[in-house]
C-alpha cells in the first residue's frame, strides 16, 4: 500500500534522490537516512542501470560508482529492507532491470513489483517507460497497490498529457527543462508553463531537473509546485566526499544540511503562495 499521498498531505513535499550503493552499500544507507533527517518527505532510490540514457554526467558517474561497488537489483531490495526511514520510498530505474528481474522464467514485470512491495517500496519512476509502453507495469502496480510516477516534459502536450494523466499515480514528475538530469544555476521558465498545463490535475505535481539550492526550491514551490525533486545537487555532495576521501559521517552531515536547506526553501515558497492554499 503506497504511503505517497500522505507525503503531500502536509505542505510541499521535498523529494531527494540518491543512487543506491554510491559509492558503497554501507555509506549509502547512512546517506539515505541523513536525507530523512534533513526533511525528506519521499525518497527516490536509484537502482543503477548500465545505460542511464536520461541522466547527465553527475548521475552517470554515480551509477558507475554504484555498479562498481557491486550494486544489483537483489542487493537493492536488501538495501531497502535494511533502511531505517519512515518516509515513502520510490524506486527510480530503467525498464530493462524491472523487466529482467527474476530470470528467464519469471512473470514480467510482475516479479519485480511483487518483490518491491514485499520490501516496502511505494512506487516507481521509470524514465525510459512512456505511457504507451506502461500497461504491464501499471497493472502490476495496481495489483500490489504501488504508485507509478510519470514524467511530464516541457514538450508534453495535448493527447500525450491525457494519456499520462490516465496512468499516473503518486505524483507527477514535472521535468523543469529539456535535457538530462543535472544541477543548474538557473531555473527555467518552462517550469511555470508546465505547471500551468497541469493545473487541473488531481495528482500532486513535483518539479525536478536542475534544482540546486533552497532559493530554487522556494521559487518553484511559490510558483505552484506541490513538491520538488532534487538529485544531482545531492549526488554532487556524495561524489565530492568520495573524491576527497571524507568519512561517510561527514558526507551524511552535509547531505542532511543540504536537504534541510532545500526542504526549508520549499516551505518558504509554500508560505508565499497567494492566495494561500488550504492545507488538506
Amino acid at each position: 500500500m503506497s504511503r505517497i499521498p500522505e507525503a503531500f498531505a502536509d505542505g510541499p513535499a521535498f523529494i531527494p534522490y540518491l543512487a543506491v550503493g554510491d559509492p558503497d552499500y554501507e555509506s549509502s544507507i547512512e546517506y539515505v537516512e541523513a536525507l530523512e533527517r534533513g526533511g525528506a518527505d519521499v525518497i527516490e532510490l536509484g537502482l543503477p542501470f548500465s545505460e542511464p540514457i536520461a541522466e547527465g554526467p553527475t548521475i552517470q558517474n554515480a551509477v558507475v560508482r554504484a555498479l562498481e561497488g557491486g550494486m544489483t537489483p537483489t542487493r537493492f531490495f536488501e538495501f531497502v529492507e535494511e533502511l531505517d526511514v519512515d518516509v515513502p520510498l520510490v524506486c527510480m530505474t530503467y525498464y530493462n532491470l524491472i523487466y529482467r528481474y527474476g530470470g528467464e522464467r519469471a512473470e514480467r514485470p510482475r516479479a519485480f513489483v511483487e518483490k518491491a512491495a514485499e520490501v516496502g517500496l511505494d512506487g516507481f519512476v521509470v524514465p525510459d517507460l512512456p505511457a504507451e509502453e506502461a500497461d504491464p507495469l501499471r497493472e502490476a502496480c495496481d495489483e500490489f497497490d504501488l504508485d507509478l510516477v510519470f514524467i511530464v516534459a516541457p514538450t508534453t502536450e495535448g493527447q500525450r498529457l491525457e494519456r499520462i494523466m490516465e496512468q499516473v499515480s503518486g505524483y507527477v514528475y514535472v521535468q523543469a527543462r529539456l535535457g538530462v538530469t543535472g544541477a543548474r544555476s538557473d531555473v527555467s521558465t518552462q517550469t511555470d508553463e508546465s505547471l500551468g498545463r497541469l493545473s487541473d490535475w488531481d495528482v500532486p505535481k513535483a518539479v525536478g531537473f536542475g534544482i540546486k539550492t533552497g532559493e530554487h526550491a522556494e521559487r518553484i514551490v511559490a510558483g505552484g509546485a506541490d513538491g520538488i525533486i532534487v538529485g544531482s545537487a545531492l549526488v554532487d555532495i556524495v561524489a565530492e566526499g568520495h573524491e576527497n576521501g571524507d568519512s561517510a559521517e561527514a558526507v551524511a552531515d552535509r547531505l542532511e544540511q543540504k536537504a534541510r536547506e532545500l526542504s526549508e526553501g520549499a516551505e518558504k515558497g509554500f508560505a508565499q503562495r497567494t492566495p494561500h492554499p488550504e492545507r488538506t
Partner: protein, 409 residues
C-alpha cells in the same frame, strides 16, 4: 511499431513528442511519398550516392565453393558503405520536417561519415557522438567527418564504444529535441526508426532481387549479410522475406568466444541474435547481450561496426519466427575472409562484411546452388586494424606485411 513482441518506444517522455512527429513524417513522406519525398530521395541516392550498385558474379569464389556466388556491392556506395542509404534518407527527411540540426552516433565511423556527407550535401549542421575507443580505432573516419564539416564529440563514459555513444546522443536529443533530428544509424531505437531505416536500406534487396533475376535468372537460395545493429542485414533481407525459398543468414560477430564473463560484464562477442536474451535498450525491446540482472554487457568484435550489445527488433522477430537464421564466426575467421576476398576477388571488404564471407567459407555446402552475399562496405577504414590484428593473431593467408609492422605511417 511492433515486430511481434519486439520493438516499441521505450524513451524518455521528453522525446516522445519528437518521436510522434517523426512517426507522422515517416508515414507521410516515406510511406506515402508526400511532396515527392521518395522521388527526391531516390534521385539523390542515384546522383550523389551512386545507385544502383551492381550485383557481381564472384568468379573465383564460385569456383572455390562449387556454386554460384554473387556479391551485392554496397562498398561502391558513396562513402564506402551501405550507411548512406539511411543517412541520406533521414537527413532529407529532417529537411522536409524543418529541422535545423542533425546529431548522430557512430561506432566504426561509417554511419558518422555517411551522415556527415549527407549533411554537407544538404547543408545541415552536424554533430556526431563517437566512443573514445572507437575514435582511436577509426581515426581516418573521424578525420573524414571533420573535413565534411561535422563536429565529432568523443564519448568517454564506459568502454567508449557504440553503446555509450548511442546513450549520449539520446541525451543530446532529449536536450535539443525541438530543432534537432537524431539520425539513428541502424534498424534499432524506438519506432519508427527500425521500420524507417529498414525502408531506406531495403533498396539493397530491391535492386539485388531484380539483378539476380536478370543476371542469374533465379532468386538466390541463400542471402548472407553480417549483423551488428542490423541495417545492412535488414536492407539485404527485406525484399526477400516473402520469398519462401530464400534462406536468410544473419552473420554475427562471434568475437573471441561465445561465452560471457558476467563478473566483468563483458561478452567477448557481439552475437546478440545468437546468444542474447530479450530486453529493452535504446528505445526498443529486442535481443540483448545482458547479464542475469539485465545489465547490458560490453560487447566485443574485431570489427567496430558490429560491436554492439543489441540488434534490430525486426531481426529478433525474424529469428524467433524462423524466417532468418542467426549464425556467427569468430574474429580470426573474419580476418582470414578479409584477406581471402581481397586476394581472390580484388574487393577489399570492411571487417564487418568479412564476417559474412567467413561464414560462406565454412558453411558453403549448406547454402544451396546460388548464394548472394551483401558486401556492406569497403575495408579502407580498417587497414590499421587489419595490420595490427593480422600480425597479433598470425593470420595464415595474409600477405607479408612486415613493412607495415609499425602501422601505416
Amino acid at each position: 511499431g511492433k515486430f511481434g513482441r519486439y520493438g516499441g518506444q521505450y524513451v524518455p517522455e521528453a522525446l516522445m513528442p519528437a518521436i510522434e512527429e517523426l512517426e507522422d513524417a515517416y508515414e507521410r513522406y516515406v510511406l506515402n511519398n508526400e511532396d515527392g519525398f521518395m522521388d527526391e530521395f531516390r534521385q539523390r541516392l542515384r546522383d550523389f550516392g551512386g545507385r544502383p550498385t551492381p550485383t557481381q558474379y564472384a568468379e573465383r569464389l564460385s569456383e572455390r565453393y562449387d556454386r554460384d556466388v554473387y556479391m551485392k556491392r554496397e562498398d561502391l556506395l558513396h562513402g564506402g558503405a551501405h550507411k548512406l542509404n539511411n543517412a541520406l534518407g533521414q537527413v532529407l527527411l529532417a529537411k522536409y520536417m524543418g529541422k535545423e540540426r542533425i546529431i548522430a552516433e557512430t561506432g566504426a565511423g561509417q554511419h558518422g561519415t555517411a551522415t556527415a556527407m549527407a549533411c554537407a550535401h544538404l547543408d545541415f549542421d552536424c554533430e556526431v557522438y563517437m566512443g573514445e575507443r572507437d575514435i582511436n580505432r577509426q581515426r581516418p573516419n573521424v578525420f573524414r567527418m571533420k573535413i565534411n564539416g561535422a563536429e565529432v564529440n568523443p564519448v568517454t563514459v564506459g568502454r567508449g564504444t557504440l553503446k555509450e555513444a548511442i546513450s549520449e546522443t539520446m541525451r543530446d536529443w532529449a536536450t535539443n529535441v525541438e530543432d534537432t533530428h537524431y539520425v539513428i544509424g541502424s534498424v534499432v531505437g524506438p519506432h519508427p526508426f527500425p521500420a524507417m531505416v529498414r525502408d531506406f536500406q531495403s533498396v539493397i534487396s530491391e535492386e539485388a532481387r531484380e539483378q539476380m533475376r536478370e543476371q542469374a535468372g533465379t532468386l538466390p537460395d541463400s542471402v548472407l549479410a553480417c549483423a551488428g545493429g542490423g541495417s545492412n542485414t535488414m536492407g539485404a533481407f527485406a525484399e526477400f522475406v516473402d520469398d519462401d525459398g530464400v534462406d536468410l543468414y544473419a552473420v554475427e560477430a562471434g568475437g573471441s568466444s561465445l561465452s560471457v564473463d558476467e563478473e566483468k560484464g563483458v561478452a567477448p562477442n557481439s552475437a546478440s541474435l545468437s546468444t542474447g536474451g530479450e530486453g529493452v535498450l535504446h528505445g526498443a525491446r529486442t535481443k540483448l547481450l545482458q547479464d542475469y540482472d539485465g545489465q547490458i554487457m560490453e560487447s566485443h568484435s574485431v570489427s567496430s561496426g558490429l560491436d554492439y550489445a543489441g540488434v534490430g527488433p525486426e531481426l529478433a522477430y525474424l529469428v524467433d519466427e524462423n524466417r532468418a537464421t542467426p549464425v556467427n564466426v569468430d574474429d580470426d575467421a573474419a580476418l582470414e575472409a578479409f584477406h581471402r576476398l581481397s586476394r581472390m576477388e580484388g574487393v577489399i571488404p570492411a571487417l564487418e562484411t568479412a564476417h559474412a564471407f567467413a561464414y560462406l567459407e565454412n558453411n558453403h555446402e549448406d547454402l544451396g546452388d546460388t548464394v548472394l552475399v551483401n558486401v556492406s562496405g569497403r575495408g579502407d577504414k580498417d587497414l590499421e586494424s587489419v595490420i595490427e590484428e593480422t600480425e597479433k593473431r598470425g593470420i595464415e593467408n595474409a600477405p607479408d606485411m612486415s613493412m607495415f609492422s609499425g602501422g601505416l605511417r
